[in-house]
């Protein structure tokens, strides 16, 4: 075919330019380390890289959130640990106060110590985090949750629980309300409370009692009234909710069990005529109330036989309530521990994900250096060949010879 001189130049230059373009692109890929220089280089991978970048950034954010969660939970855990040992101490004091050797003055000084522990407990319940927000006030971080009032320790927070986004699909609770930690604690044995009337003059001491037949429980209030006639001690049981008498003139033997409506309890000692004992369904009683009640029992001076019975009944009730309080705190601590464990598990899952995201991103947009450098060398050879051959071809001219 006939070739015009223009074509020789145009084709030669075009092929050199094409080689240069390719070479420059490979050079840019090598120098930036990125295979995708613009979305046009691989539109699908470019869009996917954007998505993966967001997922990676979210994952980093979730890791921060988890750190926050771990901090908050750790703080609550350490406060509750202090509360636990405080309750243990108080329990020891309550046991000590029951020692018959002690005289009123000894118990008065024990009571003074307990008052200090109550203040300490309120202080712990009002703990703040690093940012000055209260740990146990629900949503109202800036409100001091517990305060001593004439009506005892009052809670002014709410029952809100703060959650944190710990992973894309999991929100973890990072706070517990003061209600759940310190207030929602059943008194008595958890089902019913057996108490001795304050006006009792005998030495009867009532046990916490147990549930024998849960199906027979009624949830009613009951009254056990003693009468002493001619040396014979008998008692009547009355359901005060429905005002029905369940049994009358039961003979009393100290320590024998008294059973009715699915529950069973024992009374020890010698009740006097007219002494009364009541059984009522359990209600929630705050740890503060339990401690205040204990202080009142310990601080009261003893007088006579019934005084000792009163002390023992009071201490028994307090110990029972302290145990329930302790159970509640330990339950909350167990929940916190579980959450911390979950945070840890999510953290290592998140670390794994981060590596995966990095790998995916790298596969999507990073250059394969071995391949790129091989290509670079190849393109360099082609460019040199194009240049040299162009010089040769364009140098050939008939005019050289005429």
């Amino acid at each position: 075919m006939r070739v015009s001189t223009n074509s020789v130049y145009e084709l030669g230059v075009a092929s050199i330019l094409r080689q240069q373009e390719g070479l420059l692109k490979t050079q840019q890929q090598v120098s930036t380390g990125r295979r995708i220089l613009t979305p046009a280089d691989d539109p699908v991978a470019a869009a996917r890289a954007l998505d993966v970048t967001q997922a990676e950034s979210l994952n980093t954010q979730y890791a921060e959130n988890r750190n926050d969660a771990a901090t908050s939970l750790g703080l609550a855990e350490s406060v509750l640990q202090a509360v636990t040992s405080l309750v243990h101490d108080v329990r020891t004091v309550a046991l000590t106060a029951g020692n018959p050797i002690l005289i009123d003055r000894d118990r008065a000084s024990l009571a003074t110590g307990l008052r200090g522990r109550l203040d300490e407990l309120i202080g712990l319940a009002n703990s703040v985090d690093g940012a000055g927000e209260h740990l146990f006030s629900g949503y109202q971080g800036r409100t001091k949750p517990f305060a001593q009032t004439a009506a005892g320790v009052q809670y002014s927070g709410d029952q809100g629980q703060r959650l944190i986004q710990a992973s894309a699909s999991r929100q973890i609770a990072v706070s517990d309300s003061g209600t759940d930690v310190f207030e929602r604690i059943k008194n008595g044995n958890g089902v019913f409370v057996a108490t001795a009337a304050a006006a009792n003059s005998g030495s009867g001491v009532i046990s916490p009692g147990t549930v024998v037949t849960p199906a027979s429980l009624t949830g009613h209030d009951y009254q056990i009234t003693f009468s002493v006639a001619a040396g014979a001690v008998t008692y009547n049981v009355v359901d005060t909710t429905t005002a029905t008498t369940l049994s009358t003139a039961n003979p009393y033997t100290s320590g024998n069990s008294i059973s009715f409506d699915g529950l069973q309890l024992e009374i020890q000692g010698t009740p006097a005529d007219g002494d009364q004992f009541t059984v009522a369904p359990s209600t929630n009683q705050s740890l503060f109330r339990t401690l205040s009640d204990l202080i009142a029992v310990v601080a009261a001076p003893l007088s006579g036989q019934n005084g000792s019975a009163k002390l023992i009944n009071g201490l028994n009730a307090a110990l029972l309530n302290l145990d329930h309080g302790l159970d509640n705190i330990l339950g909350i601590r167990a929940a916190i521990g579980t959450r911390l464990q979950e945070v840890d598990a999510l953290q290592s899952a998140g670390d794994g994900l981060a590596v995966q995201y990095q790998q995916t991103l790298s596969q999507l947009q990073d250059v394969d250096y071995a391949k790129a450098i091989a290509t670079l060398n190849q393109q360099q050879v082609y460019l040199e060949a194009a240049q040299k051959s162009f010089v040769k071809v364009s140098g050939l001219s008939l005019f050289e010879y005429i």
Partner: protein
Amino acid sequence: MGNGIFGIGISGLNAAQAGLLTTGHNISNAATPGYNRQQIVESSNRPHLTGSGYLGQGVQVSTVRRVYSEFLAGQVSQAQTQSSQLDSYYSQIRLLNNMLGDPSAGLSPTLQSFFNATQDVAADPASVPSRQVLLGSAQSLATRFQELNQRFTEFRDGVNSQIVGSVTEINSLAQQIANLNQSIALVGDANSRQPANDLLDQRDALVAELGRVINIAVVRQSDGTFNVFVGNGQALVLGALTLTLDTMASSADPAKTVVGYVAGGNTIPIPESTLQGGSLGGVLAFRSGTLDSAQNALGRVAIGLAQTFNDQHRLGQDLNGAIGGDFFGVAVPGVISVAGNNPASSVAASISNAGALTTSDYQFDFDGTNYTLTRLSDNTSVSSTVLPSGAAPLSLDGISITAATINASESFVIQPTRNGARDITVTINDTGKIAAAAPIRTAAALTNSGSATISAGSVNSPPPVDIDLQQAVTIAFHVPYDGQFDVTGAGAGLPANNQAYTAGADISFHGWTLQISGSPAAGDTFTIGPNSNGASDNRNALLLGSLQIQNTLADGTTTYQSAYGQLVSQVGNKTRELEVTSKAQANLVAQTEQAQQSVSGVNLDEEAANLLRYQQAYQAAGKVIQIANMLFDTLLNLDR
């Protein structure tokens, strides 16, 4: 006889000289664009009849011919028109592609840091510094949207000025072609009937140049002139006459410059679909095929983000205890009254569902009976015979026409998303106004003896919140327990007594929804009330943060990030497609040009050979004269 030999010799000299002239002309024009090589066409002179037959009378140059193939030239110009359209589209979209692809300049980094800041507020809602960071990153997100939009506006301005430039070029080329038409007609009319080769080359070059700007149709006339047409048959050149094109703002969108032809002092727009090919066609295709939809896509992300974030934010409660307001300022749909409408006509359009928006523009018109709203990307439409109103809006894709004053056969163009990125703003500047908390909280009474628990409760969407939302409400189970409860409190619909209890079922009053689960006992009560002092409540912030990974846009199929990713991949795909097709087209141009050049192009070696050939012919013809002279001398010396 001697005379004859001299004559023949001189005719040879003249022919060789003409050959040398033409060869020299070819050599000097080897690099002239549009030049076609020329050849002399020699023929023998009419012979002289003698008794011994016909004796030759030498040579004459009958014409100078340009070596030109109309077929090949047509192929080149066709390929060139296509190629310059693709090139011009590609060079435009490449800039857009680079802008979107830059990892540090795109939308993604700011979008991510905005939501990270939202999560930080959720982690520590009472902290003023983290709230401050959220406001700051919201501001930079809005600014990034505006910056990207600014680039789009620059592209649009660039397109407009390129259109103006192209039209000027078209007019100037048309004028030059008309002038050459005139010259060629004059020369062609001369008695010689010899072709005006160089004028023809010049005109062909101009026509090819015009073809690189816009696709044209050329019709050759019997007098050798060309008529040139553009678009769907608008004459540009008629012999020596030219008609001019002009630019004007589009009647359907003042921001668009369109091409029109001037007739009788008026400029009448030429439909864009008929203006194809050439760099002008490429720019127009870039604008209608990529720029509009890309800018709309960005606007859609901005509007969708702002609207859905606002909707959630307005369900929350700020640090001062007030119900949350709008977080972002959202663009309103652009409504353009098409030229020719009565100035009193107007249309009110609003976005009723940001999640349903598309990237298309819309048209609203009235034909005297039906009010029609049409999606311009695929001409899907809804219509109604009732005048749209606030109570009965005409809606399509989340856009509602809520009022219209319109005469028959008038129309309006609605651009719901065009200015979305331009008009996004942050309306909150007080950290206390970030609604991180939920407006209500729930509680189970301490006296409850059952094991039932109450959920934290959520506020029903969409906003605005119920007027009674924060009224104190009590849920009390009947005594004795019969599986029913009474709901009491102030506000509409209460008290509601004897509600049947199903564990975990939704209980909804006053615009909130909550669940009670477990076994309640007789007399158990639960309360719902305002979340006063809820500084550490992060429930709404958590919901705001989760918007990042929710499919909120395009009818609930895509996240903000993916919607932006779609824009990037759409532009990337188109760029790649154009990169490939424009390269292929460039190859086609190179091949057809090579074919055309192989016929018409100058080969210097060939010309060098021709120089030698004609030089030798000249020398030989000179020799003939010398021989003739010697013959004459022979005669003169006969008597010696």
